[in-house]
Symmetry: C2
Subunit: 198 residues, 2 copies
Amino acid sequence: MANTALLDQLMTALRCLPGVGAKSAQRMAYHLLERDREGGRVLSRLLAEAMERIGHCSQCRTLSEQELCQLCANPRRDQSLLCIVENPADQAIIEQAADYQGGYFVLGGHLSPLDGIGPKEIGLDQLQERFASGGVKEVILATNPTVEGEATAQYIHDMAQQFGIRTTRIAQGVPMGGELEYVDGATLAHAIRGRSEF
Amino acid sequence: MANTALLDQLMTALRCLPGVGAKSAQRMAYHLLERDREGGRVLSRLLAEAMERIGHCSQCRTLSEQELCQLCANPRRDQSLLCIVENPADQAIIEQAADYQGGYFVLGGHLSPLDGIGPKEIGLDQLQERFASGGVKEVILATNPTVEGEATAQYIHDMAQQFGIRTTRIAQGVPMGGELEYVDGATLAHAIRGRSEF
């Protein structure tokens, strides 16, 4: 009642951000209005620009301002090695953490027939064309270690087989620095099955 | 490196929101771009509008689209009773929780000479004029129970005394539902000093 209509609308709009509830939205709105109007204006401008101008790379489907993303346009990246990830955040994390010099293919999700997400919705037709055109020697399946991620990996593996392309899956096991006591059973079973020579 | 320049800028801009670090900003940017572009556009528009159009009420200094806020414009609110709060969020919380029918005065901070925040910066000249013009019978000091909040309350109390206006301070004591064992010493000392007849 004390709030103006516009302020209420702003608080509601802020809740479209992940992890932001009513209380945080209120705090954010008051903070911007009382202490950082310039920050609010800059954020507004960049949001509008980003929603408008950032599309998807025509080759790897990651988020990109250009037709071809920086990674795909880089001639030093080995595009015969293709790392398949579910979304751009996964790609970013691999880029930051690993010394990986190959290319990517970003699905933008995983197979989920019940939600109407089939091969086409995650760009597997485009991936198949890429396999067919030759040039890909190995596919690294880096989908999430979830039921849906595994099913998606299996589907892509089957597809790659038709073209005689080698497929590998990122290793699953106990995380670095973890304590066995706190590792779940499924992960531990995987780690033992996938044991390697010491 | 994989990120476009605009995406990086958006992530940086999102960090102007309180409680949002690098990781949350990344999650927010990806969420909006991959799953809720419409939400991003609406948020952008409302941010711009709010930063532009929401100013301060000329009477009580709270955030308001109009010259006079809804509360000050409401003839059923008793403006001879004035609740002094540090910021609009405090006012909102009192409106939601308490059955309060008086007016407000929003300081927009507290006295803090070391940070260059004197009486003028928190509108005390305007409050003094309001006292001088008559009509205010009681002032409820609802500044925060911190050192600065107490000092500010004391200052306003002294000011009100000059005009013969009654001042009260919101009660301090153990919070409802709290357990004595976990209440800090200062609060407990206050609660005992401020005890009332059972």
